[in-house]
């Protein structure tokens, strides 16, 4: 890759991955969405409105924080946390929902739908819908409704209708199926805000572009604070939106290692995990070709992770491409290891991370000691852990 990275192609392909694998009824709406997106991508007025919202409503730029004590404790590389947990609503998800909601408004759509796993994307969607006065319906797997009840309540407070999805494994993938069914039925007035870099083209590229502010800021902040580029980037990968947001502006900086951390659940060797890049194979789901967790017959299998936001059998197609080309590396972290990362950051730095982000923290604990004290790792702290208090307490046998 000596040429400048320029993916996807005009039909949404990242090499063999990505694409537009949708039923005919959705072809027109995704083409319309793509046209609108291409139009506003370079529209100064749109960009100005987006930037103003990101600054005054979301609270950007988010800090790049040098976790000095934790770095010292681990005895290796200097760890910098990109503090997406400090965004309004507590995660990186709002970077994308703000952008898509502005698009929805310009396209004249009056109704917003979204899927959600951990509930962070649902909350971020309900938030922007409330602000713009748009009707909002959130699909959420029935299992996730239970384990993320706090976020369900937040969405309802914000005026959204939360629909528990009882089909299939009752988690994120089934919520996505149900949201697609809603969209196919209500295409005329409805805008579907997908929360990750998956789905049919243009979603993987569009969500990436909205999330790329993470990496753009981090790059500038690193140059300002340290005077050079980092040596490694670490981020958790479910669908992969915070990871691609951090990675994308660094893709052409070949000296920067990029490491995505998948959820190994009980351990990849047990089969009970959510790590398609590490242990799956290519297939087609939810409108794009990517790595999937599936059986020999091509049926999608159930995933497992303590973190609802990583509990997804697919992954953004651009990650599939970055894996195959070797530009990024993908590793995995078990539930137990993630909890160690959770506690370490909490106790060392006074920051309670989301269980999703805790996977990135746990891998950082392995990686940092192997590097020199002059090396720099930027870790995406994609969300805060408030929503996970119930899960944590239950796991540790504490009654709240």
């Amino acid at each position: 890759m000596t040429e400048k990275y320029n993916m996807p192609d005009e039909r949404g392909h990242f090499g063999p991955y990505g694409g537009m694998f949708v039923a005919e009824t959705l072809m027109l709406p995704i083409q319309e969405l793509n046209a609108a997106y291409q139009q506003y991508l370079d529209d100064p007025e749109f960009i100005a409105e987006l930037d103003a919202d990101l600054k005054h409503y979301v609270g950007r730029p988010s800090p790049l924080y040098h976790a000095e004590r934790w770095s010292r404790e681990l005895g290796g590389a200097q760890i910098y946390l990109k503090r997406e947990d400090l965004n309004h609503t507590g995660a990186h998800k709002i970077n994308n929902t703000i952008g898509q909601a502005l698009l929805a408004k310009r396209m004249g759509k009056t109704r917003i739908i979204a899927e959600t796993g951990a509930g962070q994307h649902g909350v971020a969607t309900a938030t922007v819908a409330a602000r713009l006065g748009l009707e909002c319906v959130i699909y959420m797997g029935a299992v996730d409704v239970v384990r993320q009840s706090l976020n369900v309540y937040r969405m309802k407070l914000l005026g959204a209708t939360v629909v528990p999805v009882e089909s299939g494994s009752k988690t994120l993938k089934d919520a996505l199926n149900e949201a697609l069914r809603d969209w196919v039925t209500n295409v005329d007035n409805t805008f579907y805000i997908i929360g990750t870099v998956a789905g049919p083209h243009p979603y993987p590229a569009m969500v990436r572009d909205f999330q790329a502010i993470i990496g753009r800021e981090a790059k500038q902040q690193c140059l300002d604070q340290v005077g050079r580029l980092p040596d490694a980037l670490v981020a958790c990968v479910g669908g992969g939106s915070n990871a691609i947001g951090l990675f994308y502006p660094f893709i052409d900086d070949r000296s920067v290692k990029m490491i995505g951390v998948e959820a190994a659940g009980d351990g990849v060797e047990t089969g009970r995990h959510s790590a398609p890049l590490c242990a799956g194979r290519p297939g087609v789901l939810h409108g794009n070709r990517t790595y999937l967790m599936e059986d020999d017959d091509g049926e999608i299998i159930e995933t497992h992770s303590i973190s609802a936001g990583l509990d997804y059998p697919g992954v953004g197609p651009e990650h599939a491409w970055l894996k195959d080309t070797g530009r990024a590396e993908y590793v995995n972290i078990t539930d137990t290891e993630a909890l160690e990362g959770f506690h370490a950051l909490t106790r060392m730095e006074g920051i309670i991370p989301a269980l999703e982000s805790s996977h990135a923290m746990a891998y950082t604990m392995k990686l940092a000691p192997t590097m020199s004290k002059d090396d720099i790792i930027i870790v995406c702290l994609s969300g805060r852990g408030d929503k996970d208090m119930q899960t944590m307490a239950q796991r540790e046998g504490i009654e709240l």
């Binding site: 005919e24 070709r289 599936e294 999608i300």
Partner: protein, 267 residues
């Protein structure tokens, strides 16, 4: 000439419309499907759409979703559906069989292996819901090289340009999804379908089968009259679901409904 083309041509000559029932293979259990296929032919079916169950049927409503789930409990797979089709062909060489499903089971088998297996099973058409012409190039070429018709969907929001695209990529027939929505959704609007069919017919020479929302004999007759055939899916699967403890009864009710539709369509 393909079996599908011959079927539609013969029907057109006699001024009749195609009655195309859809059932999910393996629902409510694997041994139900083969006798049900033969019974549907006796009841007047001109072709059969055989659903390949998939874990994530994004374009289907609850009725066909549950049919998929029931079939998957018995580990019904693309390979096993092909085996059922092979059995069917041993005693029926006339009735076209169209596989309908999602692309991932085909991806898992590999496009070329699938095309070869479909040819061995004497499959006549393949309708892949989430494989639009934009992504279907390789698969269509492999199927057409084996005289298997790739069937494409048209929707209420399909433009002239897209209909022309389906006309080129597809063969056998085009399947007009008469509603924006998932399978088994409400009732279709006849005037809307009529207007859309004029547009479709102006852009393709292929026969057009109409589906989604056809639940009774009168609707079947009306809808069939607007195109070249009618597809009945959720209405049949509802009979299976209502009689899970008595599949024989489900079979009788399906046959009765198809006979009524056939009579209404031919009258």
């Amino acid at each position: 000439m393909s079996r599908l083309a011959a079927t539609f041509e013969a029907l057109a000559r006699s001024g009749r419309k195609a009655l195309i029932p859809f059932i999910t293979a393996g629902d409510p259990r694997p041994d139900f499907t083969l006798p049900m296929m033969h019974a549907m032919v006796e009841a007047g079916a001109d072709a059969i759409e055989l659903g390949v169950p998939f874990s994530d049927p994004m374009a289907d409503g609850p009725v066909i979703q549950r049919a998929s789930e029931r079939a998957l409990e018995y580990k019904m797979s693309l390979r096993r559906v092909l085996a059922i089709a092979t059995e069917f062909r041993k005693t029926n060489q006339q009735t076209p069989v169209v596989l309908m499903g999602y692309v991932n089971p085909i991806e898992a088998m590999g496009y070329e292996d699938f095309a070869n297996a479909a040819q061995r099973a004497d499959i006549d058409g393949v309708l892949t819901v989430d494989l639009p012409p934009e992504e279907a190039g390789e698969c269509v070429a492999l199927l057409k090289a084996r005289d298997i018709d790739p069937i494409f969907l048209l929707a209420p929001n399909s433009t002239d340009e897209r209909i022309k695209k389906m006309d080129v990529a597809g063969s056998g027939y085009l399947y007009y999804v008469s509603l924006k929505g998932v399978t088994g959704a409400g009732h279709l609007n006849v005037a809307d379908v009529e207007a859309k069919l004029k547009q479709i017919k102006a852009n393709t020479r292929l026969p057009v089968a109409i589906g989604f929302g056809v639940k009774d004999a009168q609707t079947a007759k009306t809808v069939a009259g607007l195109g070249d055939g009618v597809v009945i899916g959720s209405a049949l699967i509802s009979k299976i679901e209502a009689n899970l403890d008595d599949p024989e009864r489900a079979k009788r009710e399906i046959v009765d409904l198809l006979v009524a539709m056939r009579q209404a369509m031919d009258s």
